[in-house]
């Protein structure tokens, strides 16, 4: 399988007088699962939006296989993004959402998923918050694209579903690059191949849990 490389650097993002991101370099290859940590307001979501192309800072350079993209999401087959605030309109039926996002080869797997199967004819708006997040996460992860960005995919999801999501993410990361962030850091520590902490606008490489403790992100 051909490897692809996503890179972002030269980022300057300010909100008013406040510098959010200033010295960021991040790369992700297909087959990798990368975790981003950071305190509230550190710029995790902003960084994902910058990569996706829905947000532009004073400067940024987003490249796939060394090719610059101004608005990556408008290019076909490259990227999908699960925003923290949710993705699907409430009046859309689950089955239709699956058809919109997922290619024919993966549709059956999602339609037969034990959590989704009983709800495929329901509208997204009637699903519980956790099930909606689970559905949205699977739609993005099973999309036929090279890279996937997930902003808080485990928040509001029950522990048992988090375990299921982890296995889906691991399975899909074999063929695509996944960058995800969540304050539920334990699942991220379990499944990620590489980790970064965003601190004072910069990305700092993290090797293990102790580094997060040393940098004051979590308690000992």
């Amino acid at each position: 399988m051909t490897k692809h490389l996503l890179e972002i650097d030269s980022v300057i993002l300010r909100y008013g007088e406040r510098d959010i991101l200033s010295n960021v370099y991040l790369k992700c290859e297909t087959g990798e699962l990368i975790a981003l940590f950071g305190r509230n307001g550190a710029g995790k979501s902003s960084l994902l939006k910058l990569i996706f192309g829905s947000l532009h800072g004073e400067s940024q350079s987003v490249r796939i296989d060394k090719k610059y993209h101004h608005q990556l999401y408008t290019t076909s087959g490259n990227i999908r993004f699960l925003p923290q605030s949710g993705l699907l309109p409430g009046n859309l039926k689950v089955a239709k959402a699956i058809n919109f996002f997922v290619g024919p080869s993966n549709r059956a797997a999602l339609m037969e998923d034990p959590y989704l199967a009983p709800n495929v004819n329901e509208r997204v708006g009637v699903l519980s918050g956790g099930l909606k997040k689970y559905l949205e996460c699977l739609l993005i992860v099973y999309s036929n694209v090279k890279f996937v960005l997930l902003d808080e995919p485990f928040t509001h999801v029950s522990p048992i579903m988090v375990e299921v999501l982890k296995s889906h993410l691991l399975k899909q990361s074999a063929g695509k690059g996944i960058i995800l962030t969540d304050h539920l850091y334990e699942p991220l520590l379990d499944i990620s191949h590489r980790m970064y902490l965003i601190e004072q606008g910069r990305t700092v490489s993290i090797e293990q849990r102790d580094d997060l403790i040393a940098r004051g992100y979590i308690n000992p």
């Binding site: 829905s54 408008t74 925003p83 009046n91 919109f100």
Partner: protein, 110 residues
Amino acid sequence: MMTMIRQKLLQKLKIIGLFYKNVVSYNLIFTAICVPCYRLAGLEAILPMFWIKFFGFALVAYMFYAFKARSLYFYYNLGFSLKRLLAIAIIIEAASYLLLIRAGLYFLKT
């Protein structure tokens, strides 16, 4: 190959349909306001109707962007940029305006 292209096109049309239903359809209120104007003033109402539709569209677009911008990620993920969505909305609105005038002319004649 042709089936794939047709399926992709059909999917894009469905997404546009959803966008119209969820966003642009609010502008039908302003189209509805135009109908009695046309009935009362006939062809003289065309310019005021245009401005009603224009400002109505601007208001709907602003309200949506200010309060429901997050829902745009659904369309972004499916490859539609904000510019493209706006262009689609303007085309639909222009078509509905022309249709309204055409229908009005027909009823004025009969």
